[in-house]
């Protein structure tokens, strides 16, 4: 199963995943510049990505924690999700995501 990720420079990456991986784990298996500072416990918003349709609609709704952390992220848009909060399933095979801009 694959995720198609676009990095900040527009580079395309095809990353394989297994059921139960978090999207953040999949995306950090290569260096796409995702910080994922807190390691996946929804405390930092540095694994912010944009998920494309139709996969976006297949994702479970954001938890209150994810919503609150996304409030602290930059350039939040439709499709914004914290990748550490997305558990991968077969239904998400072929999913297209774009890494959100970094900041300093």
């Amino acid at each position: 199963m694959k995720v198609l990720a676009t990095d900040r420079e527009g580079g395309r990456h095809e990353l394989s995943f297994e059921e139960g991986d978090t999207l953040m784990e999949v995306l950090t298996s290569e260096d796409l510049g995702i910080r994922a500072e807190c390691g996946g416990c929804c405390a930092c918003a540095t694994c912010h990505v944009y998920v494309a349709s139709p996969w976006l609609e297949r994702l479970p709704a954001q938890s209150e924690d994810e919503e609150a952390m996304l409030d602290t992220a930059f350039e939040v848009a439709r499709g914004s999700r914290l990748s550490c909060q997305i558990s991968m399933t077969a239904e998400l095979d072929g999913m297209a995501v774009t890494v959100a801009p970094d900041w300093d």
Binding site: E37, C38, G39, C41, C42, A43, C44, A45, T46, A68, M69, W103, D104
Partner: protein
């Protein structure tokens, strides 16, 4: 303004207040506290509305306060009862009177709208009245820090391994993950460190020699009350989460009172389930607490100094920040809830 007004704050230990006019400052408001002849505590704005002299520089006349400049006199409800040299008492001659509540040797003050001051909201715990527990008061520790980083520290068990290595923590807990959850307006962070050497505090007081199971549960009741439930038991006892009373167990209580944006007073005390008859034990434990809380003070004040300047870069967020994240969110909600009322003038108790 980052203060939550509609909450009970500790004005001081009850013993501090008597027939003297005692000035305190909370959230930049100067307040004078005294007791009536019957012993009831009273809190008024510490400023005469005439020439702004602190009323605490005046004198008590019975249960009323007489300003030390021209003798304007205010009753317990803040209403002016006398202006020497004139017979009319204008409606503008008043000072604010703050709701107070006294329990367990603690004087609480309500800083928000008087009609919302519900004594049922004052912090309480069953162990105060339980004969299996000893209650011992500590200090009023002044910290040159905003109250929020202090509150962060009190939903952050991770720091004890590094800040309090000789008393409340040790290296055994460095990498033990922390559970964290939000319940209403409380943040609960906790962890158990199983089968590890006892920390200094329990070596000193717990009579624990071999390896122990140690727990830390931090309950932060926003915006200002922290209950640190911590203790240890011999590892052989294999204590369950709900059996903490069987171990050596303490509750360290911290009541944070913001004085200004950059100063906070932490009134701390403890309850313990050992040495109930040992008259000195509370004080000996307090010596260790003083050592530990002074370590927090040094860190929080150093950070406050840095906070005076804008950061050069965005700070890194870590897994241990979950508790403080919850806390900041709860406080932001509480402040937002109060925002519409901030425009209006604070209501005066008993002025109608």
């Amino acid at each position: 303004m980052s203060f939550v007004r509609n909450a009970w704050y500790v004005a001081g230990w009850s013993a501090r207040f008597g027939r003297a006019l005692t000035p305190i400052t909370i959230m930049n408001e100067d307040i004078v506290i005294y007791r009536t002849e019957a012993g009831r505590a009273v809190a008024l704005t510490d400023e005469c509305p005439h020439k702004r002299l602190p009323l605490s520089m005046g004198r008590l006349k019975g249960d009323a306060v007489e300003c030390g400049y021209h003798g304007m006199t205010f009753g317990c409800d803040g209403r002016c009862v006398r202006i020497p040299g004139q017979s009319n008492l204008p409606s503008s001659a008043w000072v604010r009177s703050y709701p107070l509540h006294e329990a367990q040797g603690i004087l609480w003050i309500w800083m928000g709208e008087a009609e919302k001051a519900d004594p049922a909201l004052v912090f309480d715990m069953a162990e105060f009245e339980d004969p299996r527990w000893a209650v011992h008061y500590g200090d009023a520790l002044q910290l040159e820090s905003n109250y929020l980083p202090v509150a962060d520290n009190l939903c952050d068990p991770a720091h004890v391994s590094f800040v309090h290595p000789t008393t409340l923590g040790n290296a055994a807990s460095e990498d033990v993950p922390i559970d964290c959850r939000r319940e209403g307006r409380s943040v609960i962070t906790s962890r158990w460190i199983r089968n590890a050497p006892p920390v200094g505090f329990f070596r000193a007081f717990g009579n624990l020699q071999g390896n122990v199971d140690r727990w830390h549960y931090y309950y932060l009741h926003a915006p200002n009350v922290a209950v640190i439930d911590f203790g240890s038991a011999a590892t052989e006892e294999a204590l369950g989460e709900a059996e903490r009373d069987r171990g050596v167990r303490l509750f360290a209580l911290h009541f944070l009172t913001p004085v200004s944006e950059t100063r906070t007073i932490d009134h701390w005390m403890h309850l313990r389930n050992i040495g109930l008859d040992d008259a000195d034990l509370g004080e000996r434990m307090n010596e260790q607490f003083r050592l530990a809380f002074d370590e927090d003070k040094q860190i929080l004040e150093a950070i406050q100094e840095r906070e005076a300047r804008p950061p050069a870069r965005r700070g890194v967020k870590l897994a241990v920040d979950r508790g403080p994240n919850y806390l900041r969110r709860i406080i932001a909600e509480m402040i937002a809830e109060e925002a519409p009322q901030e425009e209006t003038k604070p209501s005066v108790q008993a002025m109608s």
